[in-house]
């Protein structure tokens, strides 16, 4: 890789981390999460990594991989520069996330993937063909076929079978026997993490003065960059504790900012241009809902001691299938339900619907969601972008106009209330 490219790759990550660090330097327990992200992306540290199991995207329950003896090494994308490394392999219209994911795998100075089992959940066409490219390159690939029709009578059964097959594939690869105890322990670890995440989201919701939107996203993203989920959970608990104590001590600031819901294509570190833009404009991201954030909605399964290994795997698979908000489904009901819940819980004044170029599934889903927002009288702003930074000023102008409209709406409501 040319040195210049490595430098710009590094600066992309540093710039994002620096800004988040600057804005949230007052939070003592936050440094772990920036370190987590840096560790994953740092070119020097990446060289030393030898992942046993890599997962492309967030599309499978990590606890099952954990139960089979490996900490999942998630490759989510998010980097503009890594996208450039796969330029020759993918068609022009490929979405930036898939480009970036594939780019990370092409980095000759990146992790040593020689002994890696790649788990590829087929959530989109790009993932389907990425699996093909990886196989062509001689990599060890296990494909997870996501049943696209949730209303299908056998969909759940098919998904369970896929998850059992995946667990067995990882178990063969790591040469670790998957026992009921191991699955139970992994589920408990994941449940603790989900619970801590729920607490974090509730503690930080609407409190941009305590923790910025970018930092919130980084914490959520860092779930995928940690190699030690138990440590991550412990650190998040510490952060939650600190945020709770700050909540008590400081009265809410920035209350005059309209609260918005950010949803659509996932925002992955380091490309935080949209949350940063929203913050700069003076809007407050109350919630962000995407394929990664529904993890906090996953409820514990109460894995009783008498349950067999396969029963536990099926339970973990089931709850994932119910909550998965990826666009892999003909009708993305989990995402829809989550949005409805959010509209009922929070005072959402506007929606920023983020679509990354090439991720047309999100665009297809917009029609149904627009009808929902229309019922609630909430304006929607569809924002299409990619990982380039050239369109920031255009987006800023459009976003400012949207923000202006939200302020006007609020002003009108107040007048009417008077």
């Amino acid at each position: 890789m040319p040195e210049r490219m490595t430098m710009s790759y590094e600066s992309e990550i540093r710039d994002t981390l620096d800004r988040i660090g600057r804005e949230n330097g007052h939070i003592r327990s936050f440094s772990y999460f920036t370190a987590c992200a840096w560790q994953w992306f740092d070119p020097e540290q990446r060289k030393t990594v030898k992942p046993a199991v890599a997962v492309l995207g967030p599309g499978v329950p990590g606890e099952l991989i954990l139960a089979a003896g490996a900490a999942p090494y998630y490759i989510l994308g998010g980097s503009l520069k890594s996208g450039a490394w796969s330029e020759d392999l993918v068609p022009r219209d490929t979405d930036p996330v898939s480009r970036s994911v594939l780019g990370f795998l092409q980095d000759p100075e990146g992790p040593d993937y020689s002994g890696t089992l790649f788990i590829v959940p087929v959530t989109s066409d790009s993932m389907r063909k990425t699996a093909y490219l990886l196989r062509e390159q001689g990599r060890n690939v296990h494909i997870v076929d996501v049943p696209p029709q949730r209303s299908d009578f056998f969909a759940r059964e098919k998904w369970q079978a896929q998850m059992i097959a995946m667990t067995e594939a990882v178990s063969r690869h790591t040469r670790t026997r998957v026992t009921a105890a191991r699955v139970r322990s992994a589920i408990e670890t994941a449940d603790c993490a989900a619970k801590a995440l729920r607490e974090f989201l509730s503690a930080s919701c609407g409190r941009e003065d305590l923790i910025t939107g970018g930092a919130r996203l980084l914490v959520q993203n860092s779930y995928y960059y940690t190699g030690d989920l138990s440590r991550w959970t412990a650190e998040l608990r510490r952060l939650n504790e600190e945020l709770r104590s700050r909540r008590k001590r400081f009265v809410p600031g920035g209350g005059s900012r309209p609260g918005i819901l950010l949803m659509g294509s996932p925002v992955y570190f380091p490309n935080y241009k949209i949350p940063f833009l929203i913050q700069d404009i003076g809007l407050n991201v109350l919630r962000n809902i995407d394929v990664t954030t529904l993890k906090d909605q996953i409820r514990p399964v109460l894995p009783g001691k008498r349950r067999s290994r396969d029963t536990l795997i099926r339970m973990a698979a089931d709850r994932w299938y119910d909550q998965d908000g990826s666009p892999a489904y003909a009708a993305n009901d989990a995402l829809y339900r989550s949005v409805v819940r959010c509209l009922k819980q929070d005072r959402i004044e506007g929606v920023v619907y983020h679509v990354l170029k090439g991720q047309i599934e999100y665009d297809f889903e917009l029609e149904r969601l627009e009808a929902l927002f229309d019922r609630y009288g909430i304006p929607v702003f569809r924002l299409e972008t990619d990982y380039q930074y050239q369109d920031v000023e255009q987006l800023r102008i459009r976003m400012e106009a949207f923000s202006e409209m939200l302020h006007q709406n609020r002003y009108r409501e107040e007048r009417m209330a008077q």
Binding site: D88, L89, V90, P91, R92, D93, T94, V120, V122, S124, D125, S126, R128, K129, A131, Y132, L133, R135, E136, I143, D145, P147, P148, Q149, D152, F153, F154, K158, A165, P327, A328, Y329, A330, A331, K357, G358, I360, E361, D363, F364, E365, L366, E367
Partner: protein, 436 residues
């Protein structure tokens, strides 16, 4: 039929739609018919396309017989026949429907999906409106989301296409077909029995037998027939019962045999032999085959799902039980299929190489419909594989409109010129052929 009352404005819109859609279809039909070398026995195929697209008729069927629309060749038509219904392929190439669908589907969705959405919205095509059920094998993101879109408007049954072709994947597809069978029985009110399934397989088997004869004849004498005419024939299969299509193809085969005996070809010149692969070519979006042949090339073969790939592989039941028949259908739909929906699709490269050898291909046109990512992804591998054989490949990206025709014409012309330059100069042995 759409029985909702329509406002005068909507009615005017519908009338404009019908007029524009039928004009476009008539224009392309005329261009196909005017192209030299069409066998006389091809007339029924042109007539079917005219009936559906120009005159806006439904498929011909007996009273009480339902039609089931399919959106991919991986939905076995045998099951639909066995349930006493008639299958029709609903994938469309209509530019007019595309322009309606353009406002409904996301900008980057493929034109095929936009055209389907357009037809569904406008509700003037009896072919779409009269379908008792629509079957959507989920082969790509657009089809997946189309399933969600259509489910809100009509009866839809989805088929999950496995990503791989391992034994367990086939098993899953067998289960999928059993589910489909249940839906079909419910829709038609007819029970699918061993006999009805076997009869349906005979019906499609006959059509496949005639198609295999046709392909053999085509291979035996280069320049026997124009690819555009074959496209018309294959497209007509979407709207004709399999046995009827087979009977008409039998007549074409007879005529071709006579041509072979007289050593009669559509041209006496050694025109560059082109293979068309990639996104499907669906009537009336027939501009690329027409351009190839109007620019003095010969479309010698195609590797597209609306062409030979869709029908050429026969069903081979090994086990003669009902379950055996179902398994053979599942295997036929998946194992020989070189659709890029399968994660590992090296099979397509083998098939292309085989076709290049069989049809003495000199150049490959790789057709990508805008937004059809799965085909676009495979272009690189195919370009590399064919580069090793010294076969030139050109990637043509197109949409469902006529705005890009001149650009495509220039590129196709240049590609054909390039192939001609590679060949030794042609020695004219006969009088000048003004029609070739």
């Amino acid at each position: 039929m759409n029985t909702q009352t329509v406002s005068p404005r909507e009615q005017r819109q519908k009338d404009r739609f019908i007029s524009k859609a039928s004009q476009t279809a008539a224009k392309y039909l005329r261009r196909m018919e005017e192209l030299s070398g069409a066998p006389e026995s091809m007339v029924p195929f042109f007539r079917v396309l005219r009936d559906i697209y120009v005159d806006g008729k439904d498929v011909s069927r007996e009273d009480g017989v339902k039609t089931v629309g399919t959106y991919c060749v991986m939905a076995p038509h045998e099951l639909i026949y066995a349930a006493g219904a008639i299958p029709v392929k609903l994938c469309s190439g209509s530019y007019t429907a595309f322009s309606i669908g353009d406002d409904l589907a996301p900008r980057d969705a493929c034109p095929l999906v936009k055209a389907v959405a357009g037809f569904q919205q406008i509700g003037v095509m009896p072919l779409y409106d009269n379908c008792a059920l629509m079957v959507l094998p989920i082969t790509c993101d657009c089809k997946k989301k189309l399933a969600g879109y259509l489910a809100e408007r009509c009866e839809v049954c989805t088929l999950q296409i496995p990503v791989s072709k391992e034994d367990e994947d086939i098993e899953q597809y067998v289960r999928e077909l059993y589910q489909f069978l249940g839906v079909l029985e419910e829709t038609t009110g007819n029970r699918v029995t061993y006999d009805s399934l076997a009869d349906a397989m005979k019906k499609t088997g006959y059509a496949q037998f005639e198609l295999s004869r046709f392909l053999r004849l085509k291979k035996s004498l280069p320049y026997l027939l124009r690819g555009t005419h074959i496209m018309a024939m294959m497209n007509a299969a979407s709207y004709m019962p399999a046995d009827e299509w087979g009977r008409q193809l039998h007549l074409v085969n007879r005529e071709l045999e006579q041509r072979i005996s007289r050593n009669e070809t559509v041209t006496r010149r050694q025109l560059p032999r082109i293979l068309l692969t990639g996104s499907p070519i669906i009537f009336p979006n027939i501009k690329i085959p027409l351009l190839i042949e109007e620019m003095c090339g010969i479309l010698a073969a195609d590797e597209t799902c609306m062409g030979e790939r869709g029908m050429s592989d026969p069903v081979v039941p090994v086990d003669q039980s009902f379950d055996g028949l179902m398994r053979s259908l599942a295997i036929r739909a998946t194992r020989p299929c070189s659709c890029p929906t399968f994660a590992d699709n090296r099979q397509r490269i083998f098939r292309l190489k085989q076709m290049i050898r069989d049809y003495q291909i000199e150049g490959v046109i790789y057709h990508v419909l805008r937004g059809c990512l799965v085909y676009d992804f495979e272009y690189r591998q195919i370009e590399e594989a064919l580069g090793e054989l010294g076969i030139p490949v050109i990637r043509l990206e197109s949409d469902y409109n006529e705005e890009d025709v001149e650009q495509l014409r220039i590129r196709i012309e240049a590609f054909i010129e390039l192939i001609k330059l590679k060949k030794p100069p042609e020695v004219r042995r006969t009088e000048r052929d003004y029609y070739g």
